[in-house]
């Protein structure tokens, strides 16, 4: 007799903070919201100093928006454009006691691996694996919002996944369409901005138009920047940046000898965010590889691998990943 799967539990609604708390909460998270005179490289440099867990970062003079505060560990932390009272009074971000606020990553990337294995291990059809994976995805978004993570990038579909059976890819495309149709209102309510990276032209036309609508409708949202990588390949991202630069060379706008890391970075698809480099990459299901995801951007990203399959990835697993991240010493090749 076929195993009948249990009734799928409805997801818990996200906590709905009041307007004043939302404004205070969203103020420090995104440079698009907080006016800043600084270039992206300086942002990243300051971010790195902020996250150094053991070194005592120098206090920099960063213009009128900057404030130097003492974090809970006693280190001086330069916070760029963030009101001095933000950390002192705890803001509206409620973190579990094992996490330190000043060591929270700005950008988390996730490879949501293991949906099919989850379904296979329970003798469920694959579609239940993906449905359960979607619930885990919603849980992660809720946690990212509640714990003040500014940017979340998810590897929804790789360009290499087209080799899977057509029935499965059609199922996935159908699931994506359904998610966009029924969840867009939810994302608007929760003030979540959606961006898309990857070659959308190969996706079904209906899904493409839903994605364009979702990106446009949410472009002014600022609580969480959700970047969805669909039909994405890290190498193709670099190659398309290379092509754009080649066009500029052809038009005489750039000399080939002037091509540098900043120029390449600006043309990558992740330039839609001020924090294109994830601080932490989480991959589930025990696979220890990057699978062509965000290659350039992962230069100094802390990698965290867990054996949990993606549908089983919940609050405790995410907490464990963040605790592991907070214990790491990030040196960026320099001194201890």
């Amino acid at each position: 007799m076929k195993n009948i799967p249990p009734i799928l539990e409805t997801p818990k609604p996200l906590h709905f903070p009041d307007l004043a708390a939302m404004a205070a909460f969203s103020l420090p998270l995104h440079s698009s919201f907080t006016p800043s005179p600084f270039k992206p490289q300086l942002f990243r440099h300051l971010q790195r100093l902020k996250l150094a867990p053991h070194a005592r970062p120098p206090v920099l003079s960063c213009g009128s928006n900057a404030a130097a505060v003492t974090g809970p560990t006693g280190n001086e932390v330069v916070v760029n454009g963030i009101p001095p009272d933000y950390y002192a009074d705890g803001g509206s971000v409620q973190l579990p006691p094992s996490l330190q606020r000043e060591l929270m990553p700005n950008h988390v990337a996730v490879i949501m691996d293991g949906n099919r294995r989850w379904a296979g291990s329970r003798n469920f059809p694959i579609v239940f694996g993906y449905e359960a994976g979607f619930r885990a995805f919603k849980r992660l978004i809720e946690l990212a919002c509640n714990w003040g993570i500014g940017t979340l990038t998810v590897f929804a579909f790789s360009s290499e996944n087209w080799c899977r059976p057509k029935a499965e890819t059609d199922l996935l495309m159908g699931l994506f369409e359904r998610i966009l149709r029924f969840e867009l209102e939810h994302f608007m309510r929760e003030n979540i901005r959606i961006s898309l990276i990857g070659d959308a032209t190969k996706l079904p036309k209906q899904l493409q138009s839903l994605l364009v609508d979702a990106v446009e409708a949410t472009q002014n949202n600022s609580r969480l920047h959700l970047i969805v990588a669909a039909n994405y390949s890290g190498r193709s991202d670099v190659v398309q940046a290379c092509r754009k630069i080649a066009f500029k060379v052809k038009d005489g706008l750039i000399d080939p000898n002037d091509i540098n890391e900043y120029l390449v970075e600006r043309e990558l698809e992740t330039s839609c965010t001020d924090f294109p480099h994830p601080d932490l990459l989480i991959r589930t299901s025990g696979e220890l590889r990057m699978s062509n995801f965000l290659l350039w951007q992962l230069a100094y990203t802390e990698l965290y691998f867990t054996n949990a399959l993606w549908p089983d990835f919940g609050e405790s697993e995410f907490l464990e990943a963040l605790c592991s991240f907070q214990q790491r010493q990030r040196r960026y090749g320099g001194n201890l």
Partner: protein, 276 residues
């Protein structure tokens, strides 16, 4: 007399060790052996602190460990080995540390060309990968001499990444691709009106690491799980293995473990490479 007998004892132990390694190597050869292993040799300075050694001594121990690991890899018939010797970011370290590391690197590069060195014993061709113009002249010249001296070796390849970061490598590949397309397409551009077409192959052929296939395994010691700007492009499908030991403490058994993990995941990686 005592010295002779202790040398003899060392030789016997080494011979027994080599024999045991070959036995284990034959067992491992029943499965697929990785073609290319890359090492991020992290933890030399922490090892020196841990053992209360003077500064710089950690790197010397690290070098001996490197020689042993290369021996184990070539005994296992791994054709390509890549090591992350010095990153462009490492120039930010204290000048005395950078200078002593560069001196050690120059000394060891010159040692590679000697008759009894590991590269001649195993027929290894040496490549120096990175932005070599950032190195001092003596180190550059030593690197060139080593590459010329081992050019005809063909049994295995050792790629030493020095003054290297992956982002610098990609920028250089982009620059070279643009220059090549610019030169080749100057006449075509006016007729067709389209820009130069660049694809993955164009970028790949200008990478410094075009001398070797993509690594099958990337091993980073000291328990840190990050790539630190090493082989970002080439690591798309590599197995990442990060044992907790510091680099001078790594041994044969860690390599065996990495190869076993590779063999366990081999079916998956083959399927993925066929899909792509």
């Amino acid at each position: 007399m005592a010295k002779q007998s202790s040398n003899r004892a060392t030789q016997v132990i080494e011979a027994v060790g080599s024999f045991l390694r070959r036995c284990i190597g034959s067992i491992l050869s029943a499965g697929p052996i990785p073609k290319h292993i890359a090492f991020i040799m992290d933890g030399n300075r922490r090892y020196a602190k841990k053992q209360n050694l003077e500064e710089g001594a950690g790197h010397r121990f690290g070098y001996s460990t490197l020689m042993n690991m290369l021996k184990y890899c070539y005994e296992l018939d791994v054709k390509y080995v890549t090591i992350y010797a010095f990153s462009i970011e490492n120039f930010k370290r204290r000048p005395e540390e950078v200078q002593s590391t560069m001196q050690l690197i120059q000394e060891k590069i010159e040692g590679l060309i000697e008759k009894e060195s590991i590269v001649n014993r195993y027929g290894v061709r040496v490549h120096f990968i990175g932005n070599l113009k950032l190195l001092s002249k003596p180190v550059q010249l030593a690197a060139e001499r080593a590459m010329n001296a081992t050019w005809h070796n063909s049994k295995a390849v050792l790629s030493i990444c020095i003054a290297y970061t992956s982002t610098d490598e990609i920028v250089n590949a982009v620059e070279e691709s643009c220059k090549e397309k610019q030169k080749g397409n100057e006449k075509l551009l006016d007729e067709i009106g389209e820009g130069p077409l660049i694809d993955v192959a164009d970028v790949e052929k200008h990478m410094y690491m075009a001398v070797a296939p993509d690594p099958d395994i990337i091993i980073r010691t000291s328990g840190e799980t990050r790539l630190s700007n090493f082989l970002l492009w080439q690591s798309a499908r590599s197995l990442l293995y990060s044992p907790g030991v510091l680099w001078p403490e790594i041994g044969f058994w860690h390599l065996v473990r990495a190869v076993l993990d590779f063999q366990k995941n081999y079916a998956y990686t083959e399927k993925k490479s066929k899909e792509s």
